[in-house]
Every structure is written in C-alpha cells, then in structure tokens.
C-alpha cells in the first residue's frame, strides 16, 4: 500500500467521522443550534427563541 493510498484512507476516515458527528448532532439536538443554518434569515430571532425554549 503506497503513501498516497494511506493518506486517502485517513482523509476518508476523517470525513466519515465528520459526517457521523454531524448526523449525531442533528438528531440528538446537541452541538450547534439549528439557527446556524439560517444566519441571514429574518426569522433567526424567532428560531433562537425556540431553541432557548427547548433548552429550558
């Protein structure tokens, strides 16, 4: 196995971890709030409020 294949292997494992973590965070509601997906949106405030309510 050459060095390039090993590097690609590491990159792929990191990518899979990234995707897995994203899915886990999304489904469990942990980590960054969903409001991050609407940074420029006028409803961001309402969205943040909702998240606060959920946290309470």
């Amino acid at each position: 196995m050459d060095i390039q294949t090993i590097i690609i292997g590491i990159i792929i494992i990191m990518c899979m971890c990234f995707v897995g973590l994203r899915i886990y965070r999304l489904l469990s509601g942990k980590g960054k709030s969903a409001c991050d997906s609407c940074a420029g949106c006028a409803l961001k405030n309402a969205c943040e409020k909702k998240v606060e309510n959920v946290k309470k």
Binding site: I11, F18, C38, A42, L43, A46, V54
Partner: protein, 826 residues
Amino acid sequence: MKLSELKTGEKGVIVKVLGHGGFRRRIIEMGFIKGKTVEVILNAPLKDPIKYKIMGYEISLRRQEAEMIEIISEEEARNTNSATSLYDPISENIPVTEEQMKALAQGKRRTINVALVGNPNCGKTSLFNIASGAHEHVGNYSGVTVDAKEGFFDFQGYHFRLIDLPGTYSLSAYSPEELYVRKHIIEETPDVIINVVDSGNIERNLYLTTQLIDMNVRMVIALNMYDALQNSGNTLDIKKLSQLLGVPAVPTISRTGEGIDELFHVIIGLYEGADFMGQKEEIQNEALQEYRKWHDAYVPDHKYGSHKEEENDFTPKNFIRHIHINHGPELERSIEAVKKEIGKIENIRHKYSTRFLAIKMLENDKDIERRIISDMPNADTIIDIRNKEAERLKAVMNEDSEQAITDAKYGFISGALKETYTDNNQNTEMFTRIVDSIVTHRIWGFPIFFIFLYIMFEGTFVIGDYPMQAIEWLVGVIAQAAESFMPAGPLKDLVIDGIIGGVGGVIVFLPNILILYMFISIMEDSGYMARAAFIMDKIMHKMGLHGKSFIPLIMGFGCNVPAIMGSRIIESRKSRLVTMLITPLMSCSARLPIYLILIGAFFQSHASLVLLGIYSIGIILAIIMARVFSKFIVKDDDTPFVMELPPYRMPTAKSVLRHTWEKGVQYLKKMGGIIMVASIIIWFLGYYPNHEQYSTQAEQQENSYIGQIGKAIEPVIEPLGFDWKMGIGILSGVGAKELVVSTLGVLYAGDEEVSSENLAERLNITPLVAFGYMLFTLIYFPCVATIVAIKQESGSWKWAVFTAVYTTVLAWIVSFLVFQIGKLFM
C-alpha cells in the same frame, strides 16, 4: 375584600380576578375560579407567599397576586346576612354555610366596572349619558388636571359602574390625559373596557385599540356614530374585524341609543365568559350554565340565545382572544430582548403585561421608566438592553424605535382594514394607498408579483453571470495548477476530481445566490413582500390553509429550516402542521445551482421564464397539497389574523448588505464543511475499488462502489429518464441540495478543465429529462436538516417521515408524467 387580607384558617368565596388577561388566565388555570371556596392554610414567616387550599389542592400565591383576587369572606357574609333582618340576634358565631357564601359572592359579582376609553370627540360622553340614562349618578373624579365621570345603572340583573375617561389619541406619556387613562387602566383594573371608536375615522381611532391590545385588557369595541359610516357609502365587515382583532365589535349610534343594549349584552358575555374559555376557545360548560341560568331568571322577556349577539359571543371562537400585534422581525426581536429581561422580575408580572412594558420602553416612555422600571433591581440592565436595541433599530431601520413601532402599528391597522373596510370615497390617497391599490389589486396583483419574481430571476442570471465567469476562471486556474504541480496518483485525482470538481462546481453559484438573497431582502425591507403575502393570503384561505402560512412559506425561498421554525407564528397546531408539510415544496436557495446549471445548458434562450416556471410549480404544488392535507389528513378551522401592511420604505443599504453578507459567509462555511467532505466521499466511492483495472473511466465508474449503488437504484429512476449518475446525485442531495451539483461535478468529471459549463455539456441528456430532473430535485426529500426541523417542531418522527415519503413519491410521479407525456410530443 381581597384574598390577601384573609388570615390563616379563614375561608372565602372568590368573586372575581382582576388584572390583565395573561395574569387572569394563569390564576384561573390554577383553579382560582369565581364561586370557588378558598381557605388560607399557611402564611409564610414574612407573610409571603401564602398557601391556599382550593378544590382539594394546596397552592401558594404571592401576596401581590392574592391582592388581585376579590373575595367574600365568612365575616363579610355573616355581616351581610345579619344585616338583612333587624330581628335576628347579632352574633359572631352564627355559622354561614358555604352555599350562602357562594350566593353572596355571585350577587357581588354582578357589579361590573366598565371604563370608556377613546379618542376625543368620538362620542364617548354621549354613549356614557345614554347608557347610564335616567339612573345616572354623575360624580367627579379629579386626576392631575383631568377629570373622569362616574355613572351607575342596572341592566339585565347586573349593576354597572361606568367610568368615562378623558379622550386620548394614544396611551403614550405625552399628555396628562394619556397618563391618566393609562394609570386608571393599570391601577383600577376595570372589568371591561369599552373602546369607543369613531366609525368615520376608523384608521386613526384603531391606533389606540392596538395599544389596548398590547395591554391585554378585556375589551369591547363600540363602533360609534356608525350611521355616519353607513351614510358615507363606505362599508365595514364588523364580524371579520372582530375576528382579526380578537375583540368583539358592536356598531352603536349614541345619538339615538341604537346598539347600546347589544353592547352591554356583549359586555356581560365577555365579563362572564372570556376567562373561561377552554383550549379550543369555547366557553366552559360550568360558566355557560351559570350565565344562562342567571340570564333566564333576570331577563324574562326572552330566552338565552334568542339575541343575535348572544349567539355571536359564545359559539364562534376567535372573537375573544388575545392577539400579539406583529411589529415585524426587527422590532419583535428588540421587544423580545427587553421583555425577557423585564420578565425576570416576577413581582411585576401580576400587574403589567411584560410585552406592554417592553414596547413602552422601546418607545422611550419616561413615565414607565421612572415609575416602574427604575424600581426594579435589574433596571440598569433593562435600560442598557433598551438603548442597545434602540441603536440597533436605528441602524437597521433608519428610524428611531418609537417611530418604527408607530409605523408597525399603522401597518397592522392598514392590513386589518384592507380586509374589512371598503372606502368608496377615496379622494385623499397617499403614496402607500396608490401603490397598494395597484400591487394588491385583485386581478393585477398576481401578474405584478410574478413580474417581480421574473425580474429577480433575470437579475440572478444576468448580473450573476459576470462574477460567475470570474469564479469559474479561478477554479480553472486552481485545477490547472494542481494538474501541473501534483505528482500523478490517487491524491491528485482526489484534489482535482473530488475537491475541485465537487466544491468548485457549487461555489461558482455563490454570486447568484447572493443576488437572489439581495432581491429577497430588498422586497422584504421595502414592504413589498408583505403585499405579496397579502395577495397570496386570499388563495391560501380558499385552499383551506391558514393565511399566516404564507409568511413562513416565503421564508422557505431562502432556506426551509427557518421557514419550518417560523411556522410557530401560527396558533392552530393543525394549520402549523400543514404549513410544515408543504414548506419543502418552496424552492430553497440550495436548489438554485441545480436549476442554473441545467437551465444554462438546455434552456438558455428562456432561462428566467423556465426558472420562474420551476418556482411557480413549487408554489402551485404547495397550494394543492395544502388543500389535500387540510381536507383529508389534518382538518382545522381557520383562525383569522391581520396580515400587516407596513408603509413602503426605502430599504437601507446596511440592512440589505448585512443579510446578503451573512448568507455569503454561511454559504462559504458550507462549502468548506459538508460540501467538501461529501464530495470527497463521493469521489472515493466512485474511484474504488480497482481503479487501475479498467480501460475507460466510464467502465471504471460503473464498477465502482457508487456505480454499484447507482445501478441498484437505476430501475426506479429509469422511467423518469435519469441515468444512474443522476440517481446518485439525487441520493446525495438527501444530505444537502447543493450536493446534487457537487456530486454530478465529481461523477461527470473528465479529463478536461473542471467548470460548470463543461459539466453541463457532459450531461448527456435531453432538455425534457433536464426539466424532469429539476422538478424532481424541487419536490423530493427536502434535506436532512429540514426533516429534523419538522420532527422538532411537530414533536414526532411521524410527520417527518411522512414528509420524506410524500415528497419523494410526489416527485417521482410528477417527473414520470413530465417525461412520459413529454416523450409523446418530442
């Protein structure tokens, strides 16, 4: 006496609960209902809180809260009883039965304190005189420099104490009258307020009404001098107006006494019923029975229910409900920030609506600041937040917060009147009215809306083309550099075909998305979007969908996730659900690159029209599905609401650029994150296994992991005219819609320079298939984030899964029909 005055071990029967609507509702929900016996169990060492026993439960109340509950105590009952007969021996130990106490409490409850509030010269005093009639006892109550008249009269078994407050245009702290009226409402807590409105000058008069709504008081509107309105040829849909404001409105003519009986009928109904609404806003049976019994006993000339207003009072919901006047996203954000800080102090909540205080603070109301806020322990923080928010508003809206609130309130009134009031004598039209009469015209409104959309898309294509070419060139240069400097091998292929092919294929659309956002921002800030929502509202109503739904739906053009969260503005759960279910059909900005790439390749001569068509199909499908869902799956009555029509305003460059900039940053973050990662994974799956063993790249891809997956799903998508690579694009789009283009970029990457145009050329499909593919990506499974948002908002996976399934099935059916029928003609 007040509940707080009872000593430990003493009992009393509740007569009524005073205070603003929010407080009353909370106290009543705790069980402190009229006619119920309450006993003091324990006074805490500092006499606060106090523990009570009511309906078998033990509940603690703060002393200040208990002060807002009027009761009749055993001692009072005993005194009242003993005073009734001169011959009975007076004894402290005469037992008073609970039934006797309840009867006395019921009698005491029949005194209703009513305050008349209205603009100067709206006929308040005439109404006061005609109502109190020959029985009046007029006294003078002096305020600082103003007077209020008091009158008493009996009507249908109730004793009315009528207070005629001085005329005022608003409840701000500018004049002594305004201060006096406000103080009276807060300190004296009248049971019901009659908001007298001059029907001939309804728009200006309703401004005061909106402030009373903010205060959350129990209120009825007397549309006074109604004959003047009728004679002028103008018309007003009173029922609709009542529904929109959540306040019953009764037409009256003080001069002749017309409508006065009806007005006081409504007041009795409101007083007896408003606090006892169930969850579906129907009156609770117990309260209704009691009211009916009383009515039948004291009003012998007709049975309960034989009057029109009695039917109206109780049967239809929506007449009596507390609404929040929507001041627009920026102001609401500020109100919420100030309200949150004020709400931290529990002690004031029983007396004031925190929302009202927050609005007043933003209006720079010095009286509220001095009398209420400055006494609070967190006064400095509240004032700090207010100042910061005021500065923010000034920067964003280009006007001070006070003016912005006034504008928003007039926007609300304008929206309410647009739906209910027909002015047949418009001779003094202002700019807003002239423009509104055109853009919200029942026939021309729609073409104008679509022309605006067309201009938006044309701008997205034409203006976006230049920076797009520049980015394409840059991507090409980077790819060339990688080609020249990197040694051959899988790592080089990963960088060129995977990362540059994937991310580069999507990033070129950044300018287009920014331009789209800029147009949306301009349409929102100028006030046109509210008009667009207004004209669509009527269609929404016809389709069985809540009118409010169009606001989150419009948000859906940007991103479906906040749109679904935005559906929380809809009170009715079922209407909310329908809105959530159809939101994914609104084409979000992530889908734009797919359209741009396919339209650019196959429909260049009619690019904007085709794009407009795609968006329109999304809207039409959303409307149709809303009809289907509200008819067969989730049924609900429509709750009316006011679609605000704010005055037109020149959008500020700062606000537009801020929205656009934030979107740009977010897009770039996505490029560096999930898009890049997904592109690498797709490349890996398309590169392995056994990359070197095949002679052509096509053969290699077909035998790769992704090729095998693609071949497995091919039978499902073949009837739609899609090949397996397009199928993989669809599969990856489940994560995020941008991934469709990046995936196609990776899968169709050849040896030539990677750019979108080349990708479009490499797509070996017909325009018909391209159109079907665009429709499929428009309709099918929104994206994981949207599905999770639906789950969070609906509270269950059931609706999230349902959305995923129905959108995908619908997408398949639509694309199938387009392809199969289209084939017959092409």
